[in-house]
Point group: C2
DNA sequence: TGGGTCGTGATTGTCGACAGTCATGTCAAC
DNA sequence: GTTGACATGACTGTCGACAATCACGACCCA
């Protein structure tokens, strides 16, 4: 049984004919961003989305502002919304925060393991392996993040789970921008070793495995900052502008 | 100088005549909640707030939904918004999350201390002592929370600072609901000892002092759950309802 | 041809109005 | 006096329309 009455991790099957609520719009866009079907920088025009989902523009608008609060899209005044492209510094801070919170979560989860939690985790890891076998890239990405949220669910702290949910989403954006070209797809093997430690209720071992897993992900990125996203030309040539306004 | 270009901690002086932006409305309400001028459970009627701030109802509405995302108000469909009254379980989880994040922040801050950070912290503690001397309850509450946010600023991680900002706000609500009647007002002495450890760049000592400070706050609460807020009559008499539907 | 200016279409920001829903008070019947 | 139905008022939810702003291409001039 589920310990928490938290929101479902992903959108339930959607029947055409009913009109979508704001929550549905939010989830559909969020999932598309996390799956990387919507790459960073993509313009999100309100009217387009409204006609696609056949809802009013106002509903799309509030979904976008909510996504902006969650740092998945950026909104510039009078210039609309885009899928966020995290900076190098932001990427570092997201992973630093994630190391801290994942450590707290994995320790709590290790202490609360039981047969039910074990069954869920094993089933999830199996599903990950299956998605990997099927070469379903989107499913691999989504399930990889869900593993960590499942751990948070077992840990039993809704506040931390909400924080982690945001961090997992932002991590997906970071990976989309800074993934090293030759890196293997989202190492899911790290979850295996972690699961073994959890089953043994080895708190320190599980925490160490999680730390290693985080390092593994961070190492697959190229944060050497040569890829400075969104260079502001006005700032680069500020001195010239001063000379000849 | 400030390390981060984060949002200001509190509302800048507001000049009448200009019309408020949504951000202003949000900040004014948030501050009133954190200062406990708006106690938990207070109904927040959109039209009232709109006339008070002389803005349109839509603007108040979006400010309220943002406050709802930050868990400072609860919104029931068709029944409007109220200042949130956290449950006992939520209170526990907020403080558990806060222990974790404050630990990470204080360690980072201790490692990054310099003369500028020291000056800011000393000035802040002095301001806290002054507010305490003046018996300015609202200022004491606000400054007490700001001390922790200043620490997060020194730590230099915007992501963690945003998380902590939410946790500090929610802590204020928890204290408003569960404060033990005879407890002294928001122990500000804990900040003194913490500051000494930070100046010495004693990471472990600072972390221990922070942990003690968190315990101190938690001990001033009465979470024995006899004060179950918002008893649901239907749940209390669920068995009777089953017998005679 | 390069560069600057202006207009036009597209997109966002904001507001007021109306419909839907809930709470409260009134009144009649028992 | 109590209970139930009903009416009324207040509040929220939603949408469409209009204003403000921006991006982009056409046009003109040197």
């Amino acid at each position: 049984m589920s310990r928490l009455t938290a929101a479902p991790l992903h959108t339930p099957p959607f029947h055409l004919g009913e009109d979508m609520t704001e929550d549905d719009v939010h989830r559909h866009i969020a999932e598309a961003i996390i799956d990387r079907r919507l790459p960073p920088g993509t313009k999100l025009v309100e009217q387009n989305l409204a006609t696609i989902f056949s809802v009013s523009r106002a509903r799309v608008r509030s979904a976008l502002t909510r996504l902006a609060h969650e740092k998945m899209v950026t909104v510039e005044p009078n210039r609309g919304a885009r899928v966020a492209t995290p900076s190098v510094e932001e990427a570092r801070q997201v992973f630093e925060a994630r190391r801290l919170i994942e450590d707290g979560i994995v320790r709590a989860a290790a202490a609360r393991m039981d047969t039910d939690a074990r069954a869920k985790l094993e089933a999830h890891v199996a599903a990950e392996a299956d998605a990997h076998r099927r070469r379903d890239r989107h499913a691999v990405i989504r399930l990889s993040g869900d593993f960590h949220l499942l751990l948070a669910d077992i840990a039993g702290n809704i506040v931390l789970m909400d924080f982690l949910r945001e961090l997992v989403s932002r991590s997906s954006l970071v990976i989309a921008v800074y993934e090293r070209p030759g890196s293997t797809d989202c190492s899911h093997h790290g979850h295996d070793g972690l699961l073994n430690r959890l089953i043994a209720m080895d708190v320190e071992g599980a925490a160490a495995a999680m730390a290693a897993h985080m390092d593994e992900i961070a190492d697959s990125l190229d944060l050497s900052s040569h890829r400075e996203d969104g260079v502001d030309l006005r700032r680069v040539f500020a001195d010239i502008l001063k000379d000849s306004p």
